[in-house]
């Protein structure tokens, strides 16, 4: 069995499982009204109808697709383009780079305030340069430089400088002209 075919069948089986779990556990346990509701002798559609129909469609279509896949012997999908361990590994590395840069983006500003201006909180300083840009600048730069290095397979000073310029450009586009816009993570504080 080809890589695409096995990935496709595993996904389809997972989708059937997701549909069944949604139908049998999630919807009954997490929606207070049924598919059809009666209130003061009025009958109306309840909140459960649409999710039930959607989950039912997933189960039916995924089952039909699985059946068709079992009956058909081959697919036209290019094997390298499909989901395999290498792809999932790559996605994991990308997630780690993005995750680390988001942590920096979120916490660096508050951390800097607590170290250099312990009298104030980040909330009061979130509109003050350099604190308001610090997290976005460093986190954004790490994200861009990290991803470029991963893609190109090497770390270069030129790319780090390009990353810095790109983040400064975004600050210039979103923050400098607009008082009402908040760069990440300033809206959360």
């Amino acid at each position: 069995m080809g890589i695409f075919r096995s990935a496709d069948m595993i996904t389809t089986a997972l989708l059937i499982l997701l549909g069944l779990v949604t139908l049998l556990l999630w919807i009954p346990g997490d929606i207070d009204t049924g598919m059809i509701e009666k209130f003061r002798r009025q009958v109306f559609i309840g909140d459960a109808l649409i999710p039930t129909l959607a989950a039912g469609t997933i189960v039916i279509c995924a089952s039909v697709h699985l059946l068709i896949s079992l009956l058909r012997s081959n697919t036209n999908q290019i094997e390298e383009d499909t989901l395999n361990r290498e792809s999932l590994g790559f996605l994991l590395v990308v997630s780690m780079i993005v995750g680390a840069s988001l942590v920096l983006m979120f916490w660096l500003g508050p951390l800097a305030v607590s170290v250099f201006d312990s009298e104030s909180s980040y909330r009061t300083m979130r509109d003050t340069t350099p604190y308001k840009h610090l997290g976005f600048l460093v986190g954004g730069m790490v994200m861009m430089a990290g991803l470029i290095s991963l893609i190109e397979g090497k770390i270069s000073r030129q790319r780090i400088i390009i990353s810095l310029i790109s983040v400064l450009l975004l600050i210039f586009i979103f923050d400098v002209p607009f008082d009402s816009l908040l760069l990440p993570p300033n809206g959360d504080w």
């Binding site: 979120f106 861009m144 993570p185």
Partner: protein, 521 residues
């Protein structure tokens, strides 16, 4: 107000609307300025491999809303900018296809077949002129069809279709998109159902936010912009990351070829191209009017039809100007017609239309759909004025295309030199920032990245993303219409099968799924 009063009011809303600034006492209307800006930026975006018109529409939306606010006055400048991008990107996509054998947008792939051989012969200038002439002609034709058809279709829908039929029509549209996009209709239907399921999280009429697992994170539902941008933009970005990572090298821009051949395009040559342009424009317009079928198919069909019609010396694929004309007229004529289902039915048929709906949804005061075209005589229907204002902006963008488009598109070839390995991470950060700026909450970033991963997985497993996005957008509308239809039927459980039109729509839904399942064996 009569029909022509509405049309005129729409024209005036664009040209005599709020001023951006004065030059020698003459006010420059903001909508006009935004159309120009959108058009020029759109050409640059289209000419940059890896970027696309819909992407730029998506990331510019939060900035536009910040500049113009949430008032009805914001609608026309924002729509003008987005329409300008749509048109500019279509034209711009041909530039790298012709100059460097690299399509700027997927629908310009067929343009490379004849465009690049012409460049190698030293006739890049002529090829660009052919592409521009065909693109502008196709686009203009498509817009004219939109201007004339959308109001009539909307009036017919509003007059003859009740809640039941409208619900059945939404089901038909979703089935159609699910069936025609991608390799397997079943996967399309799974994607659409998944979109509806996720869209129903945190919504509903009960006090408890359904399917929220009792968490605050899901209680307010999933922001539409995160689902749409995540699946459409970030999913694509992650896939391109992986492709580049596999190659482990930067894509070097191909060398420029000196141009010394015939680079003019005479009137007689233009006339010879007209049959190819006309046929492709009709094909592209018909395809564009159907939800879900994109400009890539239009370009392929236009090229294939042109190839059958062609009897010239240079065969298609070896640098025939007719090949470029057939492709560019077909893919450009999709953009205008794509707005027919949006404006007349409220159903977005493609990615560009999705972002127009997102803009309308974010700003408020304009709900694309049949109710827009209510020609009320006693009270002014402001939505109708906006609709005609949108048509005026499109016509103005066409005018720009005819006048400055060709000159500008010859200047943007340099964009191909931007390394994709730098551009794509920038796109990720830009999308993330744009979403945060609009939602001002880190949860939106988490949703965005989650949907990016979903988009990545869908692409890797050949599950089409467009049915997911369109279903996510239409889910609320579908549920409301079903509730209304059920209520007016006095709670008849068979309410969807009580009208012939509704039964016809539902039968067609089943038919398209079966038909496309069979034909794709």
């Amino acid at each position: 107000m009569g029909v022509f009063d509405y049309v005129w009011a729409g024209v005036l809303a664009v040209f005599l609307g709020p001023e951006a600034f004065n030059i020698f006492g003459i006010g420059i209307p903001i909508t006009v300025l935004m159309v120009i800006a959108g058009f020029l930026i759109g050409i640059v975006t289209g000419a940059t491999p890896g970027l696309s018109g819909p992407f730029l529409m998506a990331v510019s939306l939060p900035i536009l809303i910040s500049v113009f606010g949430f008032t009805p006055d914001a609608l026309l400048p924002v729509f003008g900018f987005l329409v300008g991008i749509m048109k500019g990107a279509t034209v711009g996509g041909a530039v790298p296809a012709i100059l460097f054998n690299t399509p700027g947008t997927p629908d310009a792939l067929m343009t490379t077949l004849d465009g690049y051989p012409m460049t190698k012969r030293g006739e890049a200038g002529k090829a660009l002129r052919v592409a521009h002439f065909a693109s502008a002609s196709g686009d203009t034709f498509s817009d004219l069809v939109l201007f004339t058809c959308a109001p009539f279709l909307a009036i017919a829908v509003e007059s003859y279709l009740g809640f039941t039929e409208k619900a059945a029509l939404i089901i038909l549209s979703l089935s159609f998109v699910a069936a025609v996009v991608g390799a397997s209709p079943m996967k399309g239907l799974i994607a659409a159902a998944f979109g509806i399921l996720l869209a129903s999280i945190g919504t509903g009429e009960d006090n408890y936010s359904r399917l929220s697992l009792g968490t605050d994170f899901l209680a307010n539902g999933i922001p539409m912009i995160t689902a749409v941008l995540g699946v459409l933009i970030l999913g694509e970005v992650f896939v391109s990351f992986e492709e580049m990572w596999r190659e482990h090298r930067d894509e070097e821009a191909p060398p420029e070829i000196p141009q010394s051949g015939d680079n003019s395009l005479s009137f007689a040559e233009r006339r010879k191209l007209m049959p190819f342009i006309s046929v492709s424009a009709c094909l592209g317009t018909m395809i564009g009017a159907l939800p879900g079928i994109g400009s890539t198919l239009a370009a392929t069909l236009g090229y294939a039809t042109g190839q059958k019609m062609h009897k010239g010396k240079i065969p298609f694929g070896e640098g025939a100007p007719e090949g470029i004309a057939a492709t560019e007229a077909a893919n450009s004529s999709v953009s205008g017609a794509n707005l027919i289902p949006v404006l007349s039915l409220g159903i977005p048929g493609n990615v560009g239309a999705v972002f127009l709906i997102l803009a309308a949804d974010s700003i408020g005061g304009f709900n694309p759909g049949p109710s827009v075209f209510r020609f009320t005589t006693d009270v002014v229907n402001p939505e109708l004025v906006i609709a005609f204002g949108l048509f005026t902006a499109m016509a103005f963008a066409n005018l720009l295309n005819w006048t400055i488009g060709a000159r500008f598109m010859q200047m943007v070839g340099v964009m191909t030199k931007v390394p994709k390995s730098v551009l794509m991470p920038f796109v990720l950060l830009l999308t993330l920032t744009a979403v945060y700026v609009q939602e001002t909450n880190f949860n939106a970033v988490y949703f965005l990245l989650l949907f990016g991963v979903i988009g990545f997985l869908m692409r890797k497993l050949a599950i089409p993303t467009l049915p997911f996005v369109i279903a996510f957008i239409l889910a609320r509308n579908l549920e409301t219409t079903l509730r209304q239809a059920f209520a007016v039927s006095d709670a008849d459980p068979l309410f969807l099968f009580k009208s012939i039109t509704s039964v016809a729509f539902l039968s067609m839904s089943v038919f398209v799924v079966i038909f496309f399942s069979r034909s794709k064996k």
